[in-house]
Symmetry: C5
Subunit: 322 residues, 5 copies
């Protein structure tokens, strides 16, 4: 059965498969602490959970939908939340692992489809240190949120590495590969922004506005999570600026190369003109052509061509075309 409950009551903390037998008593005891984790989005299981806790059908329904957007909905006596851990696939796509749940006065319920490293890590922390549960269900919620937000940083670090790589390639030898990888990075940053922005707004609301189930001491800790989220937002914006800046550099370099190539073409075309013309003129079939019978005639023309080339290059240099 994919339901695991961890109960702290009367000073003793234990973990059980399924729901505790005295669920109603625990919920009624403000000093007790309960954390129920459901590693499934099986609809009947979730509906049973909803009935046991008395959650609103809409909120329970949200648990098995793929919401894709972090949110917190307040219901009388409890919050429904939906957050995401982030992974990066080999191919550079952002993968979202959704964790939904409920936060009440003395309990937390978490729901997730795949096994979650973050939930496992939090369970281990509770086992190691009972105070994590003692400080209240909202502190537990903060600890989970903190773990989820921490999954964002490695993804951003990887994006930064790839931006630096792409920047370097753009300057050295831009090709279709580079452009596709920049296009990918832009898509990922868009995805990150759509996740981080709402999270920041939600945590801001949790930390400042009057949600009844969040106590004052925990609010200070949420402010810390919010600092991380603000930094994440700024990093995403910075990386967007960097990518756009790199593209600008690519464009100006591209234009500069084009201009240089055109200059070379023009110089060649201009130098070409008198040379072939002279050769053509002396190739004409006239009885009398200057120097035609001079034994060195051919070399006179050769010298003339050299003179023309040198003169034109000197002129170009004077006009700062070279």
């Amino acid at each position: 059965m994919p339901v695991v409950s961890r109960v702290l009551r009367n000073g003793s903390c234990h973990q059980v498969e399924g729901y505790p037998d005295d669920l109603a008593e625990i919920l009624a005891d403000p000093a007790a602490r309960l954390w129920v984790d459901l590693a499934t989005i099986d609809i009947p299981t979730l509906e049973e959970m909803g009935r046991r806790f008395g959650f609103h059908p809409l909120a329970v329904e949200d648990c098995w939908h793929n919401i894709q957007r972090p949110k917190v909905d307040e219901y009388p006596g409890y919050l429904f939340f939906s957050f995401h851990a982030i992974d990066e696939s080999k191919g550079g796509d952002i993968l979202l692992r959704e964790i939904d749940g409920f936060l009440g006065g003395n309990y937390m319920v978490t729901v997730h489809e795949e096994p979650s490293r973050e939930i496992a890590s939090l369970q281990e922390r509770c086992t190691r240190n009972v105070s994590t549960m003692e400080r209240g269900s909202d502190y537990l919620f903060y600890s989970l949120l903190d773990l989820l937000v921490d999954t964002h940083f490695p993804v951003l670090d990887s994006i930064q590495d790839r931006i630096e790589h792409a920047e370097h390639e753009l300057f050295e030898r831009p090709d279709r590969q580079t452009l596709e990888s920049i296009f990918m990075i832009k898509k990922e940053l868009l995805a990150m922004r759509r996740i981080v922005g709402p999270q920041r707004d939600i945590v801001n609301a949790l930390g400042s506005r009057g949600y009844a189930v969040i106590t004052e001491p925990t609010r200070l800790y949420l402010r810390d999570v919010q600092d991380h989220l603000i930094r994440l937002t700024e990093l995403v914006e910075t990386y967007r600026d960097l990518v756009n800046g790199a593209m600008d550099v690519y464009w100006t370099q591209s234009q500069q190369k084009l201009n240089e190539v055109m200059k070379v073409l023009t110089v060649i075309g201009t130098v070409n003109l008198p040379l072939t013309l002279i050769a053509g003129l002396w190739g004409m079939n006239f009885d009398r052509i200057p120097w035609a019978h001079d034994p060195l005639g051919f070399w006179y023309i050769f010298g003339l061509l050299l003179l023309v080339v040198v003169t034109m290059l000197a002129l170009f240099r004077a006009a700062r075309w070279l």
Copy 2:
């Protein structure tokens, strides 16, 4: 007659053509539920409806105008609303089917010109499950809104397919067709944005601010519709970013191709120069031209040309021009 009334009173639910005979009594009975559907925008019919319910002339007038913009106006005791179902034409245009109406404390009136799949679907649901009407006219209104918003998703899915197709074409072989189709997608996304944005704001207002005819339980359901609308807004923005990103890729690829072509032109022009010049020189009419009388003279020049070509290509390769 295009007027259909569905009445729930004293536990019995029935549907009648035209208005119920005891309209005034029904409206005065808070426990009763009434839904009148007018499948017409015939002005006299609407004016009669307005008189029967006592609606403000401006609101009734809005029923036969084509408003094109979702809105909700509050009047004393009732709301006027105007929403849209969305279809996509074969040619890729957004088609709006407007549904206007009034929401009172225990009744809803809906007005639409063409036959509406959404209205039919809601009528069927009421027949199947009487609780849809029992829960109040505002829940009925929510159900209608939910059906209307659900029409947006297939359109966005189709747009997504077309973006992916266009993206692929842009990378492989961009032509005028691709550009026109991207232009079309941009226009559609503009149209979607102008519909989805105001809907989101309106549903936000309905779900949070104090509209008297919306009860607290229904407000939670409206929040659900609003989540859909927020996701729609974000999808539209994402697709806009994707289209713009695809255009950027097109541009950079285009520029890169241009630069490569220019390089080829320059290489050809540069190689061309000495070759034709040499041929021209030996075509000059002098008495004494080097090798002119040598039986292999022609082939010496041939060898000279080959040497020039090889040298120049080697130089280009050394300068990384090739």
Copy 3:
């Protein structure tokens, strides 16, 4: 004399040249209605009007200034307003005809320089239907505003026609004329936006905030005007997007044409190279040139050239350059 007064008092409605003799009594009678229209911005006339009604000097001064920006200023007991009717000149410029005025509890004063079709139309409506004045000076004000806002739609329709024309031309044969006309449309849309935006904000304020001289029933009508103004704003934005989108299409098409032309140039240059080179080689003056004495030598070369052309075109086709 360019002053016309229309008085409704004790059930009788009449129009007089100049001011009514019992102006003070009319102003003191809440049941009376007065509309004074000044078809002049002659300073002494306006100053006299200001003295008669007791208006603030700053507001009276604004009547003869060309304000160019719609505005409403609240003074104790009355509002000063400044709105615009819009025309489009033959050359496609936006022409503003300013109508200023004052709105008091039971009177309205309007001031305009040129003869105004909208004022004439409102006067006619008052003559036809006395209820226009009976409903209060604020309803009269609403009627005027409605007429002024209605002048915007034909201008936008004309802009839309011209956008469609320009779009078509951009796709078919863009020339300097098209660019200038697009530049003109952009200027017009800028002008429209500067007029419509403030109007919408002002009417929004009039319809919602507590201006004492606007009664509740009229506020509903003002909401209707506001709907028109919101739609106007959105149309202007849509047209701006269309114009910018059309320009983008022009640019991409332009770039594509350039790339195609460059390709043709490169193909020509590349094919040209071996042909003229061969002709040049056989034009060289050597004693022994291959085939020189062969009677069909000329035609061998001809065949060689054909062979070269065919081979190169085949290569280009294989490399998908053609």
Copy 4:
């Protein structure tokens, strides 16, 4: 001594060099009016002034700093203000002449480094019309502000002239001069925006929020200044749009010219190909060349070339390349 005081007390108005002897009595008399003007930013002089009036050291310090940004700081019992008159240098730079000062319940102090035309003009107005001072120190402050804002319009008019000139040049014969002048205009508009924007916000605050030293009647006049500032802001934005629009036109024209030039180049290259090829072929040294011994051979080739040119031009015309 650069201090000039103008005192209105007990019905008599007189101007003195330096401070009035009975400064303390004047400040204590709410019916008195005092305006002290310091045409210097000499630090000891300003510090003495600060001590006489009891101003905060930070505010006095701001008088000799070059603030560059309009501002109003409220202190208990008085305001510190810093505004700017604008001039345009011959070279087209925006010159700011700063006027700082203090506004108390019945006095105003102004501080400026260079002689100020606006201060002189206000002094003259006070001499001509004693009511300017009678209406209170805040009305005096409004009069000064009005004079300062009026200096902005000539500068904007000059910018408009230069935009129109640059627009015309861009269409006719764009050169480096034109681009530099557009660059200058953009810089100036940036400078204007940085001055006008904060002024508008400050005057908005003065006119609406509860500053104790600004009385209700003066607030109406400040609204008038604010209208000017709003119009200035809109003019600046309009001019920015115009400049950017002109640049767009330049770009599209530039691209169009480039495309036309490329077309000409391609046509020339294409026509060139067969002509020189034919000439080259008949220049080959074969024993038997067609028509070589025909007396009209030369003219046959001439005719052939003409035929080729005519055919190709006809083909180009058919393909709409010309």
Copy 5:
């Protein structure tokens, strides 16, 4: 030991290594002043400091983290702050030196890793002038903030110099170096903006909102710091506009050069056509070529070529191509 305390109590001010012995008494005495500076981010040292003053663990933790973003967190009875001094590296990177700290009712604690010129300068000022401490811990905090903000101006001055240099280079001879340096400046301005923006918001909050530990007189001084920060923000924006404007100029110049080069190419190509054609024609091997036997034939052709060149240049000049 890297802890230095400066105590002002009962009129005497002295500096001690480590913490004062009577720390608890000092903190309890509202008339006393204490400033503890920790020139280390050694974790145990900071944890001990936190215990002595009773600071929240989260705030103490922030002292040894590298926060990178200015912030102020309010805790009951004290503020945690984190600000930055700015240096510019030789290579043109922005270097941040973080200074964290706590501000209580009568004490300030500062924490920094590297030796800080600003802290040293403030210590010296306290030694020189005891009133700096007498005026309260919040005035001390203001003095520190002022010193930190003053480090921004030299960096911006250096950026301005480099912009002017790059602008000049862009106009004169743009190369890859210039583009890289502009890219660097953009990155620096991005970094500056991310620092200055939040600082301005924070100082704005400190100066206006009700933070208990900031007294009214100090608030006036903070407004002064805020003026500096607003000016810094505007400078950063101005520099961004300048850089972007310079890039625009580069682009238009680049395009203009390209167009000119293309024109030259076209002129050369067009002039080239008849010249080489004529030379080719007279190089054909016919028995009868016009002027072939005329002794001046060669010079006739020469004259013909000159005539063609002159005619074409005249035509180009007439068509305003030159």
